[in-house]
């Protein structure tokens, strides 16, 4: 198993610290419409380095920070942490657990941290490339997108194959 857990704090509809413990095998997420399931999926894409707000169903990246409700005020920072197992040292970091964290402040400031050390976005992405996650553009299949895998024009389809090559 590679992922140990994902932690959300202030990300979209998760104002309170939320820990998703990953296990080996299949984990299913259920719940009513609008309760936050796809937001968890967005959180993983975001901490993996997604830079296009539209890929996260947002207009501006600031939209991923918890915006408040009728009874709760908004917060000023969104944070997602991905904790990975590294006993086999498949990641280029010499520790058995690797923690990757991304923060976005309402001011627009961004932070990327690996094991609590500030790094550049590029360094963070490099780590994921080595896991094979960065290379496979299809590790995350968003809601409603499965049909588009076939619907694309012939030229777009070749992109799918080129990425696999």
């Amino acid at each position: 198993a590679l992922i140990k857990r994902v932690e959300l704090l202030g990300f979209k509809s998760f104002p309170e610290r939320t820990v998703v413990d990953f296990s080996a095998g299949i984990s299913a997420v259920v719940g009513p419409n609008g309760c936050g399931k796809s937001n968890v999926v967005d959180a993983v894409r975001w901490v993996l380095g997604e830079q296009n707000p539209r890929a996260l169903r947002a207009e501006r990246m600031e939209d991923v920070i918890f915006g408040g409700t009728e009874s709760r005020s908004r917060v000023s920072v969104a944070e997602v942490t991905l904790v990975m197992d590294n006993h086999d040292r498949s990641l280029p970091v010499d520790v058995s657990e690797v923690e990757v964290r991304r923060r976005l402040y309402r001011s627009g400031e961004s932070e990327y941290l690996v094991n609590r050390q500030v790094v550049r976005l590029r360094d963070m992405r490099e780590i994921f490339l080595d896991t094979g996650v960065g290379k496979n553009a299809y590790s995350v299949m968003e809601q409603g997108r499965i049909d588009l895998l076939l619907a694309a024009k012939p030229e777009e389809r070749r992109q799918v194959f080129e990425e696999a090559a």
Partner: protein
């Protein structure tokens, strides 16, 4: 690079056929290069023939058949370019019960080497998972995660799912 592409194309074509036959219980697929002589610019056409039917362009298939064909392609890509974890958001939405069952079998097989997080409204998919999370919004607009135990009997599970929904 043209050779790499050709190799990837052939590998994906082989796996696509295998995955399709598994999910459809038969039938066949074809991947065609629109321009075999201009490999680096050629588009790609998909054809699928569910068991007993005629080979046709995938645009003529039913909604569920297209979804299942897309899933076949997705898992073919996973075979050619494995990912340590895969996050799938409601890829079962268009599938009938029997096809969901076959999808779950496929996920179970892949889950030996891959961590899956699947978001679903489908009780059969949820029943096929080893771990079950529920997300609720008891407080409007605020998401909370609940770990639902996976009980032995299906009836208890439906009761838990009903509690979440």
């Amino acid at each position: 690079s043209s050779t790499l592409f050709r190799q990837a194309f052939d590998d994906i074509r082989t796996e696509f056929q295998a995955m399709f036959r598994r999910l459809f219980g038969g039938g066949r697929t074809e991947l065609k290069l629109t321009d075999p002589d201009a490999l680096l610019e050629s588009g790609i056409e998909f054809y699928a023939q569910p068991p007993g039917k005629k080979l046709e362009n995938i645009t003529l298939l039913s909604g569920g058949e297209r979804a299942l064909t897309a899933v076949s392609l997705l898992f073919a890509l996973y075979r050619v370019r494995p990912s340590p974890f895969c996050i799938l958001d409601e890829i079962d939405a268009a599938l009938d019960d029997e096809n969901v069952g076959r999808l779950v079998e496929l996920l179970t097989e892949f889950s030996a080497d891959t961590q899956f997080l699947v978001v679903t409204h489908n009780k059969r998919t949820a029943a096929g998972a080893s771990h079950l999370f529920g997300i609720t919004m008891e407080e409007q607009g605020v998401s909370r995660l609940v770990t639902l135990r996976l009980p032995a009997s299906e009836r208890a599970e439906e009761r838990e799912l009903a509690e979440v929904h």
